[in-house]
Amino acid sequence: MDVESGSVHLVDDLAYEMIPLWQDNSKEELVKKLQDRYPQEDICDTYDEIGELKKEGRLFTEDIYRNYVDAFKARPVQVKALCLHIAHDCNLACRYCFAGEGEYHGRRALMSYEVGRKALDFLVQNSGNHRNLEVDFFGGEPTMNFEVVKQLVAYGRSLEKPHNKNFRFTLTTNGILLDDAMCEFINREMSNVVLSIDGRKEINDFMRPTRNHIGSTYDIIMPKYKKLAESRHQMNYYVRGTFTHYNLDFAKDVLHFADEGFEQISVEPVVAKPEDDYAIREEDMPQIMANYEALAAELLRRKLEGRGFNFFHFMIDIDRGPCVAKRLQGCGSGCEYLAVTPWGDLYPCHQFVGDEKFLMGNVDEGITRPDIRQMFRQSNVYTREKCRNCFAKYYCSGGCSANAYNFNQSIDEPYEIGCEMQRKRIECALMIKAALADARGEDTEVNS
């Protein structure tokens, strides 16, 4: 892959060998160096092909976006997405919960309709010309306050026409309380739904027990999730799991979901403090890398057999993905994306909720700490020194600020273990793309 242009090339052995040498050698020098192994005509042809790609801006391209991203960052901040903490309460006791089993290390609380309504008003008033506005109903467990969810959806819809906005509502749930009526509402109103479950029954039930540790949450939620996924025609949802030190063989959990008939799957590494027993450690990395590779190979095999599925972290759009401005600006937390607590406080994102240092304002007064917003505003791929020369920078946009802060006390100092996994996932995603392109009838040997 040519990082700065985003071009992905399939190359034969000769091109693979020649590309690193091309800029420092003339055609004649390369003929001399390679003629013992390749025909002279092929060497000359390959030399010219590389030159053509360079001329087209698809190879050896340089980073020209530094000033461009600064210009974008200088624009006035507009909010376009809210994570509404509709319930700081939960009916599970997941061991790894960053929200302290729903309470975010604070008190149990449900968001009132009044607070939610003010949050939606705040969003509309601060969204400028943005038409598409996103609101995620999050928790704790949002179905524990579902009446308010329904009222807020109705209120949001009432704002659409007068303000020329399009609300996209989403919901993240643990599934325990899901019933047919809720599913019918979700299917009608939610553009996406995230269904939390960790994979195989024993894995799920170990990390995601009930409050009283009796019974199997897997048995409660699995049939509901299957039904909901089918009713959404296997689109616009994710079964979403977390892997930890205790299931480093997470590829089995992904394939378990696929074998159960799910087609939209996301299984992601836990975010934890280094001292947590379930935290991912440096010594776990070889097994994690091997699992990503094995999963990529199996996913490719199934795709070629016509029974593929989507694995969120291997999804990549190399043709019409986001614009370079989006890729450089970071995740938007603290600026275009904010989290709202049940009592209306604003934080940069859900991961920062409960950390008073990051309390940015509230739905009554708006942003009262513009300095915090500015800190997030300024952060981008270029302010993160480790990102500058990373091939993955246009695919992860500098990574998760909360992860960076949790591990390095700076939102500009990426979380290295996360970076390592991200690079592997992008490698796997590109491999799948290349192999599928190859299988479609390209006759070039794949080395990418």
């Binding site: 700065e4 985003g6 992905v8 090339h9 399939l10 091109a15 092929d42 042809d45 390959t46 092909e49 698809r58 391209t61 461009y68 974008f72 507009q78 376009k80 994570c83 038409r131 598409n132 996103e134 995620d136 993240t172 996406n192 995230v194 994710y238 992601e268 975010v271 972290h313 990549i316 759009d317 190399i318 043709d319 019409r320 993905g321 986001p322 614009c323 370079v324 401005a325 989006k326 890729r327 970071g330 995740c331 938007g332 937390s333 275009e336 994306y337 991961q351 246009y394 992860c396 946009s397 990574g399 998760c400 600020s401 909360a402 991200q422 992008i426 793309k433 290349a434 392109a437 070039t444």
Partner: protein, 48 residues
Amino acid sequence: MKHIKTINHTVLKDSMAAGGCGECQTSCQSACKTSCTVGNQHCENKNR
């Protein structure tokens, strides 16, 4: 080309002119909620 085949047709630079409208999904609102992933985001800008 015989030795190199390019499997995508756009280059990042081309998105500079009409990019940055901000109508696309906020990355953390998709499935992840922990890992910023933009490479799979759908572009909403029809003018690009």
